[in-house]
């Protein structure tokens, strides 16, 4: 007689007020392939853990965003937010789709140049631009988004010494009715700092004020806030037109559009509460188009720097179960081979995690720990998953944004990253790190060289 399939014994107390398992099958439904490539095969070839990106999803998501905006507004330009994911292969897909680059450091700037982006199609944002950085940007004719007054003066000196002109924009922060108010970047609209900055820049003969930029926050759940932001930017642009007879060429509404991830503390699922790209587009474009500024002459180009909403869905993290244990209070704990070192976003998201093989309908509540020997390494504080065992594989969803840039080399090395192209071919786009990757950067003082010091 053939042996029965084994599932470890399980016992769950039926308590009132804990909900029920019926209909939660989707947390049990195994995800066995990504874009037609078996998860098991990916992990056999590229190891566990391993990041996977779907080119198909990236392009689809991007095209949907472009459609949402360009069907409502005639002049739209996307600029890929490098900090969200600056793996070259990812950036090049966005550039191939027509996206410019939005960078916040010279390191990202150089990556963009190397990815073939012309200097004139790079938006240089952020508070950290050194003299050398600015000089490089000026020489390449990039759009410089000024964050503070010190930058106005510094840039002015550089332009004078180089004998060059620069096209600049001002980063504006404002109250859009959402919390927290991001008033640390750029110039405040309500207290008049923004207008002061306008007058300073307008007084610089070598600076051409061509744009206004704002970025009101991150993971914005209200499309309405973008309408408020658009309105205030238009008001400012209109005032510049009236006072200086200068026409602002573009408005950059930044990013901050939410992805379908569920924020910690949110009762409902993220994908059930976030606005769609069409909601954001409608709020922004209808506000601009109805504003006297847009009606007073040529309408401004709309720049967008969406990162998270364009890449999150395309990223997966594959991993496996290292061990199972019981905690002191009887709770089940499962230790995975990936943790906060790779999944920085698990500090604020409740990532959806699917098993990658079949199970029965039984499931249990558990804490999901990462592999680090550090107490902070918690992937999910409470998640209901099937009866996992050592070696079982899981798929973490929506990890494309920020994880492959904010990951830590701490205790563990960073793993392989692969891209599945539209033909289902798998490409390694970032090799796993080894001990040599680290040691290559280190230098040992002569007296500490092995065999050089005192005899052992």
């Amino acid at each position: 007689m053939p042996l029965k399939t084994y599932e470890r014994p399980y016992l769950r107390k039926l308590n009132a007020g804990l909900g029920n398992k019926f209909g939660t099958r989707n947390s049990q439904v195994p995800v066995t392939e990504i874009d037609g490539v078996p998860v098991a095969k990916l992990m056999e070839e590229y190891g566990s853990p391993c990041f996977v990106l779907s080119e198909q999803t990236i392009r689809q998501t991007y095209r949907n965003a472009v459609r949402a905006f360009s069907t409502r507004y005639p002049k739209v330009q996307m600029a890929w937010s490098y900090k969200t994911n600056y793996l070259n292969a990812v950036c090049r897909i966005f550039h191939d789709e027509g996206s410019w680059a939005e960078v916040v450091s010279i390191f990202e700037y150089r990556k963009a140049l190397a990815n073939g982006v012309p200097g004139t199609q790079i938006l240089f944002n952020g508070p950290d631009k050194s003299e050398d950085d600015l000089r490089t940007a000026v020489q390449h004719g990039s759009l410089i988004h000024i964050d503070h007054l010190d930058e106005v003066y510094l840039l002015s000196e550089i332009l004078a010494s180089e004998g060059l002109k620069a096209r600049v924009a001002l980063r504006i922060n404002m109250d859009t009715g959402v919390y927290p108010l991001w008033d640390r970047f750029g110039f405040n609209y309500e207290n008049g700092s923004a207008w002061t900055a306008v007058t300073k820049v307008m007084a610089q003969p070598r600076m051409e004020l061509v744009g206004l930029h704002c970025h009101i926050g991150t993971y914005m759940l209200s499309a309405q806030a973008y309408a408020v932001a658009s309105h205030k930017l238009c008001d400012l642009a209109d005032e510049i037109r009236k006072q200086y007879q200068r026409r602002i060429e573009y408005l950059d509404l930044g990013g901050g559009f939410a992805s379908g991830n569920t924020l910690k503390g949110s009762y409902l699922q993220g994908s059930d509460v976030i606005p769609t790209m069409d909601d954001y587009a409608e709020a922004i474009t209808s506000t601009i188009l109805q504003h006297p500024f847009a009606m007073s002459g040529e309408i401004p180009t709309l720049y967008l720097e969406s990162g998270r909403a364009l890449i999150d869905d395309a990223g997966y993290l594959l991993g496996s179960v290292l061990a199972l244990k019981r905690l002191g209070d009887g709770r089940r704990a499962t230790i995975m081979d990936f943790g906060v070192n790779l999944l920085f976003t698990s500090f604020w998201y409740e990532h959806r995690i699917s098993p990658a093989q079949e199970y029965s309908s039984h499931h249990e509540d558990m804490v999901l720990y990462g592999p680090l020997c550090m107490n902070i390494d918690v992937v999910r504080e409470n998640v209901s998953l099937p009866l996992l065992k050592r070696g079982d594989r899981v798929v973490v969803h929506r990890v494309g944004a920020y994880n492959m840039t904010q990951w830590m080399q701490f205790i563990q090395m960073r793993p392989n990253v692969v891209l599945i192209d539209r033909q289902g071919q798998v490409h390694l786009i970032r090799r796993r790190e080894t001990v040599d990757t680290l040691n290559e950067m280190e230098l040992t003082p002569l007296h500490l060289e092995l065999g050089q010091g005192k005899p052992a």
Binding site: L14, N20, P180, Y267, S271
Partner: protein
């Protein structure tokens, strides 16, 4: 048996008629008394101990459904399964926490599962939310106490300065405390934000008498029914234990105006405060039937019946008359249930 009544299957949630009761069982009782509909009732429950599950004379068959926090995908999947067994014509969700998801999937339910609902759209649902109710009132000509939404203690202090005492400190979802001094208000801020999170609402206090109206709108500007009630006794959970239908033409006029102006679709409970000056302030607008909706039925207006009719495409006549001076008095009673029934609903998810 040919009763001349239209047969239909109605799925109803909120079977928890416990000490803080859900509206499901009152809705079902009203539907059972319909003179136009012959209903089969499918109960939808979240917990194995919801009493309605075991009331077989009122509920024909019950199914567990996933908690709202599991998301719409899970909910749709479950309803697809349920609909493969049942032939649900109309679904009436009755829980605050589940409404968002049901509104979101309403078009999918209609198109792919042929289940009809009669709900406001998300924009209307969000527009009457606590945090924006003041603006909503302004838009539709109804007084609402002024309120500030605050995220930090600093903002809270600033908002306090603009208020006179007493003030009401309210939680994001539930809970409200009246504070007579800044110290009391700050302590309430801490307590409520610790329990319900931020933001917290700081609201002008209106002294007066609470009066509630259960209303049904057809979504095109007609008020199909409205019955006002004054609570006579409130439990320690703040729920009405007994109430009486009252006659108040000004209140009825105001309720009708609001429903017509907002083109409200579906049921809702309007909670008003009649101030000492005789003005009506809208305190809350709950976008579902109240747990006391059976009183409306008892007073001659069967709102659940009218809702099912509208969901099925009929146009019931607006109901304008109701019996004044009828009371509801809640009572509780113990059901005796063999363990096998609990086993069935717990392990199989249906009963």
């Amino acid at each position: 048996m040919s009763s001349g009544r239209t047969p239909c299957t109605v799925a109803v949630s909120g079977l928890n008629n416990i000490d803080s009761p859900g509206p499901g069982m009152p809705v079902i009782r009203a539907l059972r008394e319909s003179s136009n509909l012959e209903v089969r009732i499918v109960g939808l429950s979240y917990d194995s101990l919801e009493p309605g599950l075991y009331m077989h004379d009122l509920v024909d068959k019950s199914y567990q459904i996933p908690l709202p926090s599991a998301g719409t995908e899970a909910l749709l999947e479950r309803l697809k399964y349920i609909q493969s067994i049942e032939q649900i014509d109309v679904l009436i969700p009755n829980f605050d926490a589940e409404l968002h998801n049901f509104i979101r999937i309403a078009p999918l339910l209609r198109d792919s599962l042929r289940i009809k609902t009669f709900l406001p759209d998300l924009a209307d649902f969000d527009a009457r939310h606590k945090a924006v109710l003041f603006e909503y009132g302004q838009q539709h000509g109804v007084l609402v106490p002024k309120s500030h939404t605050v995220f930090t203690l600093m903002e809270f202090h600033r908002a306090l300065e603009a208020n006179t005492y007493p003030v009401v400190v309210k939680g994001k979802y539930y809970d409200a405390q009246i504070a007579y001094s800044a110290d009391e208000a700050v302590s309430a801020f801490y307590k409520i934000s610790a329990k319900w999170g931020l933001p917290v609402l700081l609201q002008e206090h209106v002294r007066g008498t609470e009066v509630n109206v259960t209303v049904l709108g057809d979504g095109t500007g007609s008020c199909i029914g409205a019955v006002p009630m004054r609570k006579l006794y409130i439990t320690d959970k703040g729920k009405a234990w007994a109430g009486v239908s009252i006659e108040d033409e000004a209140l009825m006029q105001l309720s009708r105006t609001l429903i017509e102006s907002a083109r409200w679709k579906g049921p809702c409970e309007l909670e008003f405060m009649r101030s000492e000056e005789g003005e009506y302030y809208l305190m809350e607008m709950n976008p579902r039937f109240p747990a006391w909706v059976y009183l409306a039925c008892g007073c001659g207006q069967n709102h659940p019946e009218a809702l099912v009719q509208m969901a099925m495409g009929y146009h019931p006549e607006p109901m304008t008359r109701y019996r004044v001076g009828h009371m509801f008095i809640r009572y509780s009673q113990d059901l005796i249930v063999p363990m096998e029934e609990f086993e069935k609903i717990s392990t199989l998810g249906e009963l």
